[in-house]
Subunit: 293 residues, 2 copies
Amino acid sequence: MVLLDGKKTSGDIKSEIAIVVSEMKKNNKKVPHLAAILVGTDGASMTYVGAKVKACKLVGFDSTLVDLPADTSEEILMAEIEKLNTNTDVDGFIVQLPLPKHIDEQKVLKAINPDKDVDGFHPTNVGRMSLDLPCFLPATPFGVLELLERYNIETSGKDVVVMGRSHIVGRPMSILMSQKRKAGDATVTLVHSRTKNLASYTKKADIIIVAIGISEFLKGDMVKEGVVIVDVGITRVPDATKKKGFRLAGDVEFASVAPKASFITPVPGGVGPMTIAMLLKNTLLASTRGQEK
Amino acid sequence: MVLLDGKKTSGDIKSEIAIVVSEMKKNNKKVPHLAAILVGTDGASMTYVGAKVKACKLVGFDSTLVDLPADTSEEILMAEIEKLNTNTDVDGFIVQLPLPKHIDEQKVLKAINPDKDVDGFHPTNVGRMSLDLPCFLPATPFGVLELLERYNIETSGKDVVVMGRSHIVGRPMSILMSQKRKAGDATVTLVHSRTKNLASYTKKADIIIVAIGISEFLKGDMVKEGVVIVDVGITRVPDATKKKGFRLAGDVEFASVAPKASFITPVPGGVGPMTIAMLLKNTLLASTRGQEK
């Protein structure tokens, strides 16, 4: 069993990006600039945005944090988005989700200029992804593809089961892996809460990508020997033996699944660290390809 | 075995639309208006566009045919599209494909106002479909959903195999049938040219939707008893016993598959007639919901 080490791989990617940026600086070129809008003081959101800003600094990007109070009106948020849309110094930006309940998330995501939408959530980017046109891939599925590629895991013609049909992970994952691409050309089955005989799908799968948000759901008796496991889930599970009173668990029961797997992502340290690396990669792309449409 | 009669069903849909239109007329409301751009004199394209214009007349829609010579420049075509984009009398329009080779198809499709894109080919519509937001569904997958719904075929939790990953049929079909919707909530596997052990997927499928463009590819020994078959293919097969020297065949070997099927579409008279009906339905939608965004 080999661990798919997302922490190490994301470090490699950041190093590669840092080299490109230092070349840009040498040549007196503008460096990539990522902006993030944060509305409110949700703890997890503040942590995520903080990590993104820190990652920008690490690779030499410019970064801007637009920090708005929780009671910001939709109108003011939309005005901030429009500023970033038209600010030619900003190559890409994100609006950290979730937003406060009084704000219409879809309306906000749609207001972002698709050419700066480095999260890849705008309908136009989603459509371009589905049509296999140049686009910004959503960071988590992009990170999974990159991890599979860098570990040279063969996917062509393989039986891939994607568990979970969310807009930001399961759905795009299922589309991408069945397209003609390096970590693609797979025969993909998308399973979800309505699927009957779930184990009949997972037991014959060569690769399983789990993104259902239920801790330790996939167990050893549901997979075959040699399976490749990518675990997108991350949940706090109460654990009295830990100082903090909890431990982090994925959607996969690692103890029973890992012994049967040929490759498996740990949680934490698997898919999670890849997400920020791919956001940086999208920002680099936004800055170098210009306003491709 | 029950035939999924697309000819009859499309007739029903057209009658329903005609009733809505006659109500509009009674109330002195503007009737839906579909425009079509045809470039060149390709025989099949002329037939298709002609059928669309005829269907408009049948249900009481206004229709406009913009008929351009084969050597029309991309620039002139784009100008015609812009005219239709801004013509407030036109609710929806299509550009008949394929286009002559000197014209960039993607560029053209992208120029269509997504709110008038009743073919549902614009990246923004494709993305909205994938995100399960209000959109124009592409006519062929939309027609398949409608056929399954009207025959009350249960899809929730069923094993559905979609054969073929084209942008206009297989891919959207696979997305739509795994979403939460009436003819949805299925466990969908998308199989294609790179799939290994194809029959292992088709043999256990409850519903198979075939859109690969290879005549009579799916045979009786590849399916289980009671399967539901939707055949999107239509090809001319040489046949000396026919006056015209050919017969029309689908992607399914009807003679061997039909006896095992619980429901099956004939070719012709199955999915084909549904496509135009759904184009009309999209146009009606465009005219009634206004410029929803």
